[in-house]
Structure formats: C-alpha cells, structure tokens
Subunit: 349 residues, 2 copies
Amino acid sequence: MPLDNRKKQVLSAIVDDYVSTYEPVGSKSLIERHNFTVSSATLRNEMAELERLGYIEKPHTSAGRIPSDLGYREYVDSLMRYDDLSEGERQEIESRILESVDDITELIRSATDTLSERTGFVSLYMSPRLHKSFLKQLKMLMIEPGKALVVIVLSAGVVKDKIVRIPNFLTGEQIMKISDTVEQSLTGKPLDEITLVTVASSMKDSDIPEALLNQIVYEAYTAIKQADSLNIYLEGENKMLQLPDFGELHKARNLLDSLSNDGMVAGYVNELNPAEERNDDSFMIRIGQEITLDGLQDCSFITTTYKIGDDITGNIGIIGPKRMSYSKVISQINFVRKTLNDKIKKITE
Amino acid sequence: MPLDNRKKQVLSAIVDDYVSTYEPVGSKSLIERHNFTVSSATLRNEMAELERLGYIEKPHTSAGRIPSDLGYREYVDSLMRYDDLSEGERQEIESRILESVDDITELIRSATDTLSERTGFVSLYMSPRLHKSFLKQLKMLMIEPGKALVVIVLSAGVVKDKIVRIPNFLTGEQIMKISDTVEQSLTGKPLDEITLVTVASSMKDSDIPEALLNQIVYEAYTAIKQADSLNIYLEGENKMLQLPDFGELHKARNLLDSLSNDGMVAGYVNELNPAEERNDDSFMIRIGQEITLDGLQDCSFITTTYKIGDDITGNIGIIGPKRMSYSKVISQINFVRKTLNDKIKKITE
DNA sequence: GTTAGCACTCACATCATCCGAGTGCTAACA
DNA sequence: TGTTAGCACTCGGATGATGTGAGTGCTAAC
C-alpha cells in the first residue's frame, strides 16, 4: 500500500529535519519548520500511522521520531529531489581530480579522495575488474639469473607487472623467446579465458624442454591472474569520528574495526554489483540493516561505476552514516564519476 | 645530577605500575606491590623529590603520581630491563612473516602487520631509501604509440616502473635503442648521482634529433627519481581506539587525524634517521612532547632499520601510547627486524 | 634519615529533584 | 469523517547536594 501524499510529505520532512539536526523530530517542531496547513495534533496522528507502518520510530517514549531504515529507503527511492551542484562546486571537483598523471590509478585515487573531502565520509574505490579486458602485450624481462619481470599490457593501456622466479640457467634471450611465444598465442584473449592450460599449450612447440617450462608457465599464469585480483582503497576513516553518529566510543570502535577489514568490505562492495549489463549512471545504495557486513548497520553504502575503455569497470563511492543528506551526496558522487570517466577517457585516448 | 639508587627504584616501580594499571600510583599501593623496605611516608618524600626533579607528576592534588615524559625517558634510557621473547613468540613471529613471496614490499608489509598485531598499536614502515642504491638495468617498453613503460632494476633486485609519455612517432625499436643507450651510460651509478644532466648527456651521440629527446630524457629522469620517493605505510590505526589512553573521543579524533596525514608522519619518521652510518641494531625512540608532530604528544615512536643488500635501508616501527611497556615492545620490534632482515637476505640471495 | 599520625584535598559516584519536549487519548468541532 | 484543542502522562537529561576514599603534605617523635 503506497503512502498517501500527506504521509509522504511528513516522512520527507522528518528525514530532512533529522538529517540536519540529528535530533528526533516532534510534531510541534515539524509545524514550525515546514508549511503544513494542518495542526500538530493531525501530524501526531499521521506520525503514529507512519510508525505503525514501519517508516519511523521512537528512540524512547517521550522523544520525537527518527526515520527507520525503511523510512530512509522510501525517501531515497521516491521522496527526495536531486540536487544540482553549483558551478563553483563543479569547478572545485574538476580541478581537484588530477589528470596530468599518466597513471590511471592515481587519477582514480584522487577522485576518491575528493569524494571523501567533499562529503566528510569514508570514500572508496575498487580496482578495475579486468577479467573482461584482453591481453595486448606480455613481456618477460630478465632481472638477474633466476628472476624475471613479467609485464602485462591490457586493453585500454592498463599495465600490470610481477616479479617471478624462473629456472636459474635460463638466459635473457631464452626468456625473451619464451615470452614472445606466449604473447603471440595469448594476445587478444580476454583475461578470463586465459587458463593454465591455455598458457601451457601456447608453449608446446617451444624448443625448451617441456619439463622446464612448467615453472615459467605457472608463473606467467599467476602473473596474469594476479592482475585481475580485487583491491579496495578506503580514504577518510578518521573523518567519521567527527560525526555525531559515531560520537560514542563503542560505535566509533565498531565502525573502524569493521572498516579495517579491507577484504570484507571489498567483497561486499563487489557483491553489490548486480547484473553485468546495466545502466552506468545508476547507484548501488544500501542502508542500515540492509548491509550484511557486521558493524556497519549505522551506515549506508552508495557506490557507482567508472569505466576504463569498453571492457573494464570498477566502483567508486562512499560509506557514510545512514543519517546523511542522500541527495547531496549522490549528486556529488554523480559528478565525480562523470568527471572521472571523462578524464580517464582523455588519458587513454 | 644522577638519581640515587632508591629514587631509580621508585621511578621504575611507578612506571611499571602505571603502565600496567593506567592509574596514578600512590605511595601506599607502591608498598603493596613492591618489596620496599621503607615505609610509605618515606616513599612519599622520595616521590615529592622525584616530582620536584620533573620525573613524575600529579594529575591533580589528591591523586597518585604518573611518569612525566622525562620519567619515561629516564626509564627507557637506563632503568628498564630488556625482555627476551619466549620460543613460542619467536616462532609465531617467524611464521607470520611471509617469505614465500618474491615481492620485498609484501614481505616488509607482513612484518609491519605482525608488529601491529602483536603490540596492539599502530605499526609502520617506510619504503626503502634508494638514493644509495645503484642502477643495474633500465628498459623502456613500448606500450602503445606515445606511451612507454620504464622499468628500472636497482641493486639488490629492487624493481620500479612507471608509465611515461613519449613522442607519438617513435617506434618500438627506436625506444629500445634509446633505452639501451641510456642504460649503458647509467648502469652502476648510484641513484643520487643521476641528474637530468647525466641522463641527457648519455644520449648526446644518439642518432635521434636532440630536440626530440628532451621529452624522453625528462621522463626517464623522473621515472628514476620517482623510484626514490619516500612512502609510508601505516597499519592498525583502529586498534588505538581500544586503548584507555585514547578513551576520550577528542583524543581519539586528534590521534587519528594526525595519523591520517601520511606525509607529515613520513617526514617525521624520516627525520628520526640520524647520521648515515650507525649501528643497525639501535632504536629511534621519541616520547610524548619530544615528538614535534601536532596531535601525537600522548604517543611514543619507536623505529628501527631494515636493510636490503648493503646500500638500501628503510624503517620499521610502531606508534603507541607513551604509556606502553617499552621493554616488551622493543623486544618485539627487535625480533621482527631481525626476522625481516634474514628473510630479505634469503630472497635477494 | 625514617616513620606514625593527622588534617586536608578533590575527583568521582550516588541520589534526589526538576524540567520540558514530546506523546496518546478524548471530546468537541466543521 | 477528518481535524483540532486540551490535558494527563512519560522519561531522558540537566542540576545540585552529599558522601567516600585514595592520596597528599606536614609535623613531631623515634
């Protein structure tokens, strides 16, 4: 049963007030701040009803109401109006995100830092998911006997490398030859189609004794696979301590302990990415109890997608208190994403 | 004027008690916990004297005494006894520090993580200082027109790379030739002797028009210099919130805000490294007000040095509350450093 | 030089009290 | 039937008085 119009107004007003004051809002202060044409008594009735429906709740009997997770959800899904950034804000963001650097990672990181600075919350990015990207080059460079550097160039100019062990007696020329062979047979293949078998079979005509190749094959394979590993970068954890939401020490502890487990957070953010083909402009939003990560039930996740070329995507977003100004934050993320994508495009031509 | 024996005992006992209880220690509880042969009244006299000399202080009139920074300093310099780690502890540390990986950075990081886990404090490492290391290889790899990867191999097998812009029309062969030329003239040079002029002059006999080389020269030079940039890695910030020392929110905020400024901390830790040639076993210890970094005056820094080969050093250590068990922490750091150095040696042969 | 004794200090915990913003409910009103 | 005024009630939080106890410095005697 959808909410009637006045209930929507009331809920929206409660969320707005609570977000800006961080105090439970009562019927009387609601009247004072907003242009309701009815009396506080009527609002009390509406509020009682909204509470019965689960959209708002009371911290205790004699206090005002605060939005429940369901209330925030309703607000985000259908009540809030999107803010537009001012020209000044846009310029600030644009100038803050570095583009001079040729390293895409630096670029993404600066976008993430910008997000944290502008929202005052934790921001994050996930490293690009490369399994859809294809191999453009693979070189092996002898570093010293027994040690080589594998350099992998992927579509959109993403470069990864890894030091690997090789048999001690292999010479630089042999390594080059091997790497050329492997490169030739793998070039153009998407990363997720490259398996240990693919790599091995690419070398079966080599004049290096097969038994000796195993180690190299394996190392080259792990180097390729490692390029596709999932990393997360978090920025601005300390800023969360400024928020009243985490003003009690045990809450702050909980929060930071949870966030310090990078792997868990990365896994969760990754899960949020739904169906492969989707609208890039959309946001993944998780509020309060919707979050299945221990210790982050007072938070909300808002993430979206950035793109490198056509095949490679990653996530960028924020983790903030669920009591946040969703419209403001979303419009910030939206513009940062847009700017980031533009600048990535510029760099990768 | 050095402290007489009994004063040393008293100070030492006060530090020990305060560290373990986090409560100001009074004359009576001092008698109870330690085998003093004198009465509490005598201790009170000694304590009044120690206070006059600046080694201990009172939080307020009717409380016990706590060590001052000077008191901790005296304790660290001449009163404490070094702990030995148990066999079990040693084994735990040794097994916790990865050695399977060929990446030295991973190895150092795991040592740092171990430190944080075992002390419950923030641990840190500084990236290796490479200016003393010498260039062993320099390769430029064409990635796509206008873009190349510069790979630098330094002594002790340290590898760095950077993507650089190159003139669009240069071919892969030309790049290889250029990089061979540069490599030939720079190999064996310590990093801090490589300047823009050195790099440029290495190419003056090349058959590429000089004007066009400028960009490459500059990029190669920055790639080399960037390899020597100073990075810091901090681990375990969240653990500090568990400590009573930062049990008040504003203190916790202060602490985390200060620690979040990586650059400041890195600069400070770097400063702590004194004269170039020094005993590697030594520790840099800074206590409370001795620390010139804003917001960290309730902390102590304890850092030491790790080595990669003969030319390359870096720092590893902890930042904890100044009220810490110095002997325990130092022995942990000491053993971690030792283990780390051993494993680095094993990896680099 | 050491010690027992004692008056004094002061942070902290406990408890009682008060205040006020907010609620639900009832009865009257449009 | 929906709206409103009025009212009794709730309860968290602020305020203030009080008591407790660990600790101190000082003095005088050993």
